[in-house]
C-alpha cells in the first residue's frame, strides 16, 4: 500500500476515536523516517482545552520524542485542513510536508479561509498535498454533525 495512504489511514483511525468520544472527528499523525512519532485525535471537550486539536497534541508528542522543538524532515497527516492555530504551530515547528484529507471552507488555513502554511511573510513554508482519503474523512465529519443536529431537534 502507498505509504502516504497508510499514514492517512492511521490519522483517520484517530478521527474515528474522536467520533466515538463525541469529539469533532479529526485525527493526525506525524511521521519521521518512516516511523509514526506523534498520533492524536481532537480532545477539546474531553480536556476542556481549546488548544487540544489533534495536530497540536501530535506536534507536542513528536517534539518530545525527538527531544527537539523543531520537527525538520517530518510529515504531518491530518484528516481535515488545519485551522489558523494548527497551521501556525506547523510553521513554528518547521514541519516539512502536510497531507490533509478534506478542506475546511470555514476556517481552513491552507488557502480556504487564510493561507498560513505558504505565506511569504512568514519564515517557513510547509509543502501541502490534499485529497488523500478525502471522501472517508468528509463522511465521518458529516455524520458527526448530522448526529448533533438530530440530537438538538429531538431535545
Amino acid at each position: 500500500m502507498n505509504k502516504h495512504k497508510k499514514h492517512m489511514e492511521a490519522a483517520l483511525k484517530e478521527a474515528q476515536t474522536a467520533f466515538d468520544k463525541d469529539e469533532v472527528p479529526v485525527g493526525a499523525v506525524i511521521v519521521y523516517k518512516g516511523q509514526i512519532i506523534g498520533r492524536a485525535h481532537n480532545q477539546i471537550k474531553t480536556l476542556k482545552d481549546p488548544t487540544a486539536h489533534a495536530e497540536m497534541i501530535a506536534i507536542t508528542q513528536a517534539a518530545s520524542r525527538l527531544k527537539n522543538e523543531r520537527l525538520k524532515d517530518c510529515s504531518l497527516y491530518v484528516t481535515i485542513e488545519p485551522c489558523p492555530m494548527c497551521a501556525g504551530a506547523m510553521v513554528l515547528a518547521r514541519i516539512q510536508d502536510l497531507f490533509y484529507a478534506t478542506e475546511d471552507p470555514k476556517s481552513g488555513a491552507s488557502g480556504s479561509a487564510l493561507n498560513i502554511l505558504q505565506n511569504k511573510k512568514l519564515n517557513h513554508k510547509v509543502k501541502v498535498k490534499q485529497g488523500l482519503l478525502k471522501d472517508e474523512s468528509r463522511s465521518l465529519i458529516q455524520e458527526f454533525f448530522k448526529k448533533k443536529r438530530e440530537r438538538c431537534v429531538s431535545g
Copy 2:
C-alpha cells in the same frame, strides 16, 4: 494603579522569568472578573515543545480553571504581539479582549504580518489594544537578543 497596567505588569514579570531561564522573554496572563486565572511564560526550550508559547499555556490553564473550553468575557495580556498560532488559539477560545505591549513586525498576527484576530473570514473577533508597557517589554526582548548575539560572537 490602572487595572490594565497592573495586569500587564504581571505579564511582564512572567516575561522576566522566561528571560532568566534563557527563553525568549514573553509572558502572558488571562483575567476573568478581575482575577488572574492563567499566568505563563514562554517555555519552548525548557519543554522542547514548539507550541509552548506563553499565551497557549495561559489559555490551557484558564480553560482548566473555568472548566470550559470557551474563555468568554476573558482578557488576555501579553508582552508581545501574538504569532499566528497564538492568535488562532485566542479566536478558538473566544477571548474577548487582547492587550499586547509591543508589536512583532516579523510574525505578529494582529496586523503586522497577518491579521487573524479581526479577520472577517473567521467566526470570532478579538478586540485589541496595544502599547501598554511597550518600552519595558521591547527593552527586555532587545536585551535578550543582544546577549544571544554577544554569546555567538564570543563563541
